[in-house]
Symmetry: C2
Subunit: 278 residues, 2 copies
């Protein structure tokens, strides 16, 4: 097949590895540097991406727009691409609810583009076997083929837009939801003066859980600022299916309390607990 030109919005920590994966398969990758942070510029500069400067110019250049951004920004980003008159394939790979994915679909289809729903599971795709890009929609197969020989495993799971987002919501509902729960519990135990007793009980009957809590502090607190929006998307997905949204409303609240850890390096569980109880 002809290699499609892929416009990447934006080369964040995750997005830059998705763009690099597309390059491996031979697709030219472009981005738009206007208004992006220094960190994003540095990440992009490490790869032979074409800098089209503006979103408008990138939209003209691209056959595919690949949206990888925090969930709360997904719909606005789609609107800006639609406003620029994009008529290629728009892939929303963000952690949004099926309802938000359908809203993105409406916006881009109104501008004449095709919509492919996506959901990324795993860490930034630097090596093979760690990360999957699930895709759904009529042209999902075509997008999956852009990553055939790359370290990113792209998997088309059907023609139904919304399916890839639903899968991502279900997956993150457990991983990020249970991490938030663990952090809240550690804070509660500390507040009640039973943290040592809880640690000893966990050692007996829940081996590994204390380590998971430390890992959640280290790994999740620095990303809490963008997890809040994802938790709200998940809560909405549960509620739309007639299931309880409370778990992830609670998780959203908890991550909101930890937003100040943005860009911090590997905070300890003690630091995270102290912030939750402040």
């Amino acid at each position: 097949m002809t290699n499609l030109k892929i416009g990447l919005l934006h080369p964040g920590a995750m997005g830059v590895t998705i763009g690099a994966a597309a390059l491996v398969d031979g697709s030219p990758v472009g981005w738009a540097s206007n208004g992006r942070s220094e960190a994003t510029r540095e990440r992009a500069a490490a790869h032979p991406f074409e800098d089209l400067k503006s979103v408008d110019a990138l939209v003209q250049w691209s056959d595919v727009i690949l949206s990888v951004c925090p969930p709360h920004a997904a719909l606005e980003l789609a609107q800006s691409v639609a406003d620029a008159g994009f008529s290629g394939i728009y892939v929303d790979a963000n952690a949004v609810s099926p309802a938000t994915a359908h809203a993105v679909q409406e916006v881009v289809e109104a501008a004449g583009a095709s919509f492919v729903d996506g959901g990324i599971i795993g860490p930034p795709a630097r090596q093979a076997g760690t990360t999957r890009l699930y895709l759904s929609g009529e042209r999902a197969d075509q997008i999956a083929q852009c990553f055939d020989r790359s370290p990113l495993h792209a998997i088309a799971i059907g023609e139904q837009p919304g399916a890839a987002s639903a899968l991502k919501m279900c997956y993150a509902a457990y991983t990020k939801g249970s991490s938030a729960l663990l952090l809240a519990i550690c804070a509660l135990a500390k507040a009640q003066g039973v943290n040592e007793a809880l640690r000893e009980e966990w050692e007996i009957s829940q081996p590994g859980l204390a380590d998971r809590a430390k890992g959640a502090a280290r790994g999740s607190a620095p990303k809490a600022w963008r997890f809040e929006g994802e938790m709200r998307e998940i809560a909405a997905t549960f509620q739309a299916a007639g299931l309880p949204g409370g778990f992830h409303e609670g998780a959203a609240e908890l991550y909101h309390m930890l937003a100040g850890f943005k860009d911090s390096e590997a905070p300890t569980l003690e630091e995270v607990v102290a912030t939750l109880l402040a």
Copy 2:
């Protein structure tokens, strides 16, 4: 020490093993059969417990009253024991919030009794090493000694009433909270048509989670009718500490939806999911 006479309210599936454990250590154990179910009578009849028929007579007979009941019934049970003029040691071993434990304390102390807070972690204590009874309060040590040589491991964790309840809340917050979360996720995945894709992703990146979901259906759905109250106690405990109560409001809602599985034998995940989506 003199063996204390222990009045057991009530010999449910858990309570009967706590009574049996006290017997092992030489404490006479009494109960009150009036108004109890056939299942409870059968369980009690399997042990040399003394049947005092009424709560009033049991209260007169007992040095210690040990309350083991569903959390929503704990305060009412304490009130009935106080009303009968109990002035011994009242142990509340139920899955209640520290605030509810303090309410129980007030009620029994007003009648002249001493209060010991308790929390049970583990399955019914049929064999050594499976089950802990955490105790807190001024006379916690004295109660712990009643189980010195029994299969139940009784652990005094300090003089502060409320600590044992707090520990139980923290513990169950994860075990029962994450089970509820898993069941909700399986229902959501089914509703969205991505349950097969989720199972495959879990096999890659969350080995064991699909089995945990099946275990949660089998083990938790039959007890969901009494987990709802426990989840509400946990939510209240979080909120009182300035932490999100949503996780366990969601879990309470979920277990409420499964209350009809009471007394069912090992329901399958498919059956539980179908009920959640009905």
